[in-house]
Symmetry: D2
Subunit: 404 residues, 4 copies
């Protein structure tokens, strides 16, 4: 279990840090200003410039372990790079074409797509020419339990017909979003984990209706195409759009979620580090009751505790990455759940303290902290609430004691 950076990682880290410092951080105010002045769900033009620059710098598709399509990095190699993008999580990940939900969709297409599907959809996604959404969660049911899914995908001749309602389809409101990957049931009476399938639905298919954007603590995530509530009303697509065959939906979802979860966690470490920087800078410069905050015991406790928590979370992410690389996503199941439980909570705590250190500014748009917090908090729910992960992790642990 060797966490040292190899030469390639070291090189990419250096370049990623330079890109962040030279290009991304300075672009943050521009990004927000352009968004405020533009289309509510449109991407600010500066993002395209950053993408061009990132590609020029060789920072592109680093997330994809399949070197036919992406950088071919291991999770352990990718972790420190994704962490750096997490320091500016609303810009950097997309600038290097490593942003959810496209990453997961590209991963699905690279693993399970037919050559035709890859040619039609994976290629433009890898190029950053189009964007996509992932339609799994439903408003009416507890979707962390896949058996609850109610969307139907029914075979009808050479087509499938999709009916249902999804939400939290991130990116679906963006003009650039051309593809929806939809999970639904093809066989509601089948075995629990064989009922579901996934299918490719071009967003302009008749019957697809993006009704609205779902907000997150007041944020629309507009520059990323928001979080769509999408209705599928007798949506008909060719039968060949099914991914990997009927009944494979649950397995694909599992394959997609492991990397998705660790990517979130890698970036959350970076988000926490960004908040940590801001907290320390503020503590050094803000004076109250005659002394800088940095000399006040409570703020010092936060800083120490934050450092201790970040470091522990990072190590657990690295260990998980290592296990995914060596024994596979399934073997690393417990660790993936562990980081999904630990890391958002850690980031939420650190960011909260950074907010408190900033006073009123902390909850405002003048610092990225409030939006970072909202993002971290939401990740205690997205991809399954903490409670579901904890219950599952505990069941697995308890199994080891059953014969004692």
């Amino acid at each position: 279990m060797d966490f040292s950076y190899d030469a390639r990682t070291e090189d990419l880290r250096t370049r990623m840090l330079a890109f962040l410092d030279e290009q991304v951080l300075p672009a943050e105010p521009v990004f927000h200003a352009q968004h405020a002045a533009g289309h509510p769900w449109g991407r600010p033009p500066v993002l395209q410039e950053l993408k061009t620059e990132a590609r020029r710098r060789g920072l592109w598709n680093l997330f994809l372990p399949d070197d036919r399509f992406g950088a071919g990095l291991t999770n352990l190699q990718y972790a420190p790079l994704a962490e750096i993008t997490g320091r500016s999580p609303f810009i950097a990940p997309e600038a290097v074409n490593c942003a959810a939900p496209d990453t997961g969709n590209m991963e699905v297409l690279s693993l399970f797509g037919t050559p035709g599907q890859q040619d039609r959809w994976l290629k433009p996604l890898l190029d950053g020419a189009i964007r996509s959404a992932f339609c799994m969660t439903e408003p009416e049911v507890a979707s962390s339990d896949a058996a609850n899914i109610t969307t139907r995908i029914e075979r009808d001749g050479d087509s499938y017909v999709v009916n249902g309602r999804k939400w939290w389809s991130s990116g679906a409101l963006a003009p650039e979003c051309e593809l929806l990957i939809v999970m639904g049931k093809t066989d509601p009476e089948g075995p629990r984990h064989r009922q579901q399938s996934m299918i490719l639905v071009p967003r302009d298919t008749p019957g697809v209706r993006v009704e609205r954007g779902v907000h997150v603590f007041g944020y629309t995530d507009g520059p990323h195409g928001g979080h769509g509530e999408v209705v599928f009303d007798d949506v008909r697509v060719p039968a060949e759009n099914i991914i990997a065959g009927e009944g494979e939906g649950f397995a694909i979802a599992q394959a997609r979620l492991g990397p998705g979860r660790i990517h979130h966690c890698m970036r959350l470490i970076g988000m926490a580090e960004r908040a940590f920087d801001l907290m320390c800078e503020r503590a050094g410069s803000r004076v109250a009751f005659g002394r800088p905050l940095a000399e006040q015991g409570v703020v010092r406790e936060w800083i120490a505790e934050a450092r201790v928590r970040i470091e522990q979370a990072r190590l657990l992410v690295l260990k998980t990455a290592y296990l995914m690389d060596t024994i596979g996503n399934k073997g690393a199941h417990t660790e993936i759940q562990a980081i999904k439980i630990a890391v958002p909570a850690m980031a939420e705590w650190v960011i909260d303290k950074a907010i408190q250190t900033h006073g009123g500014g902390g909850v405002s748009q003048d610092f990225p902290l409030a939006e970072l917090w909202a993002h971290a908090r939401t990740l205690r729910l997205a991809d399954g609430p903490d409670e579901v992960h904890r219950a599952s992790l505990a069941r697995r642990e308890l199994r080891r004691y059953q014969n004692t």
Copy 2:
């Protein structure tokens, strides 16, 4: 220390509950829809209808203990009424003309205003005809320490000239906002607590510039006129606009803050109760992994713990109200700080658990929870961050042991 409701309180409670159930809660979706369709800083028309109805029902200016101007209730009588308005905190308080910052401003004018000032400004505020803002906090300094204030109020002949920059001037962007109460220094070299004064500044005075709205976790608080960043650039007002004389600013602020803080806490109890209701309803109706959430141990722990915390916080608020009524705001200083520390944190915790119970819906605009949370979180900073209150409360406690 008798917390029972007397007959008048009982009667007002019954009427307030009816108003909430019959008018306010049904108006919530209307309010949001009208706001989305209207002016970003304007009040939705339904609010005016509710105000008319509230006044008709005798639910008006209940916050004001001075019965020449308001209902003449004690804090203990007002507490359960304010709590009820806290269940719909973005509508109910203003509907009954008991919303910050106007309440504090009316209190200041009723206590310290000259008859002329009261006639010009207090009367229309009491009528709900205009709105006002309070300009104290400054972006450049830790404003919980009043000595840090940099805004200047300088005498020049028959006028005062105001120069400075304020933010978190809630309501300042509203078209209805006609009055700003501004704190600044008239005597920067005077004794620490005699340097400050307060002055009345009509918002249309030349040199007043409301530059932008400060957001709260993505929320603009638009329907309430947002939170303004206001620049005062050689703003000249008549000398008679000073409140209570030069050097009285700190004392007025203290007089204003005590009631302001307890009013926030009263409403926070109601916010927590609203979240509690939503959590219990959701727990009873949402099924995951074959059982309603209500039968799952973790959710039950939250519900029990929430009830225990709410109840303790409510009792502490009532005790504080009782002390303010009997020994005065100064005598109740420790208790006012205690609730300012305890109640926002309690509400934040309860609402967070309600959010978690709602899954993705919890952070969205489909339930009031995310916005309630943002409000509760902000109150750990507004009117002084927790840390300042804790340090001050502890100093006072420690004093009792100094000679031991």
Copy 3:
């Protein structure tokens, strides 16, 4: 809901405070020294002196609401008195004959005992002439669920025969302990809450064997007769020793537990106040890194937070007392559970911070803090673990939402 002290309470408080300051606190080192030098389960002689003095001062049997037998105080009147005894919880409660488990046993005998039972056992207990134990919990089963009880009480002619094993029978190792009140099943097949009965067993009955003392974090509670593990091996007692008849055991236990729980909570407030005093005194006198602890931010946070938590807990206890006095123990069920959840956790937190303020001394025998902590911690388990109370409280809350 009036929490003010009436004249009688005020008078008793004054006398109790004087007794504590003049007699009890100075006796603490004597008590420990005598115990160390004497019988491991025997009472230090100073305790008898204190009892004589307390009785002389009219501070005796204050816990018993039945004025035929005790002081006839309401719970609300008793609360502040019990709190004072909690400041020296290993001496004061017994010095005023208000110590568990005798209080509960006296309450049971006063409520359910026949005149003969009262004459034989209640009278000497009220006189402080003998001591008693309560045998309910069993080592082999989760005893918070009364259906799990395995001890049998079987009718055989004019006798009952008791067989079983109990533990946590506090006081049972003391030479002065003459009576055991034992809960067991007379009808294991009966309705869930009618299976159990309670019976009086003189400790010297053949077949009663006190096997050992159970420790609490290294403490034996020796001066109070420890916590016995007691075996009942064909123990035969007259049929008239049954309390209130067969099948009444569960109801008696419930009647006993309500007051027992609130008495613990009242004393826990006092324990927290004692720890608070010690923390503040230490903070004022101990210097580290050039400044007294009292000027260091972290310690100040603890002090403020402790004050806020103690105050909230006290108010909840008072409310519960009030409800028990007015609507009865059954009506106050939720509140009794609420304080059982909230108060030990509060005390544990406050004492932990006081320990930390004392450095190594905090965990040692040089201050009462470590033993106070162990006692508070144990009360998160005794009389039912927190989790059982929370689950039950939540079920009750959820019931209110069932038809929504």
Copy 4:
């Protein structure tokens, strides 16, 4: 940063696990029974048998990195071995001659001792033939600040004369304890970190008086010679007993504390794992309200959370060990502080939940949990309270931002 076990570590782990399972765990009840029946400060005979057996198995002095004297393992190699001993922390560490405070004293002698000192004292300590104590902390001052030390070591001809009072001199009451290493001031007016020296004091030197044992939450730690309060009254030792020369005391203490702290943390991981095992076994076997605890949501949350916390703490300990091995104790200063903050708190939390799962048994002597807890809690104070470490760690972090 490679955390994999090399072949030697793997071999030692296998042997250590076998020793624990086959010898140590079965000896636990014997150990306690022998102690209860024997000398209050004497070692139970079974310990000597275990030491003989451990040495036979090649498990001896593994802590000592200097291969002239000990096993010559790196910290990274030693970490998993020390963790295993932590599963039975009151027996296993001493059985393999790796118990504090002897380990630290042996380290000091190996690093700073003269050949004569090593021959006289290090040799018998390495053989496990004698035991030693470390006399640093003083009852009257906050000893985490070395400048507070008041004990004097004064040169007088060919001797040094020691005067002072120490406590928490662990092991000092044991009959086997023959050596005290004492820290005191030789030059109270010298530079802050050059005032202190360390000196070797044979326990039988006239003037040495071990007054009493200091308890830890009711535990005496009797089988390990307790925690002595030791008075030095004109204690005269030869001048050659000074270690490394006058003024070296602070530097020696620092050199001693780094390894001491990480050894504690390694063992705490094992203590947490032991509690985790007990919690899971209990959860699987104990039934309450019709279901095993393992099926109840709250207990499952604890189990999951415990696993997540233990794993993070372990990784941080391993990283710290790696840094100590590669960049030295000084370079790893921040990480040593980080584990000192994080690991005891983690262990305390895990053990607390295991206690709660065990009901009344959890706080009793029937399971090791209560004593494990007391030990973990004390380590939030021993070797410097959390607050001192946090303040120091934060200062170091803040330094990085000073020029921004």
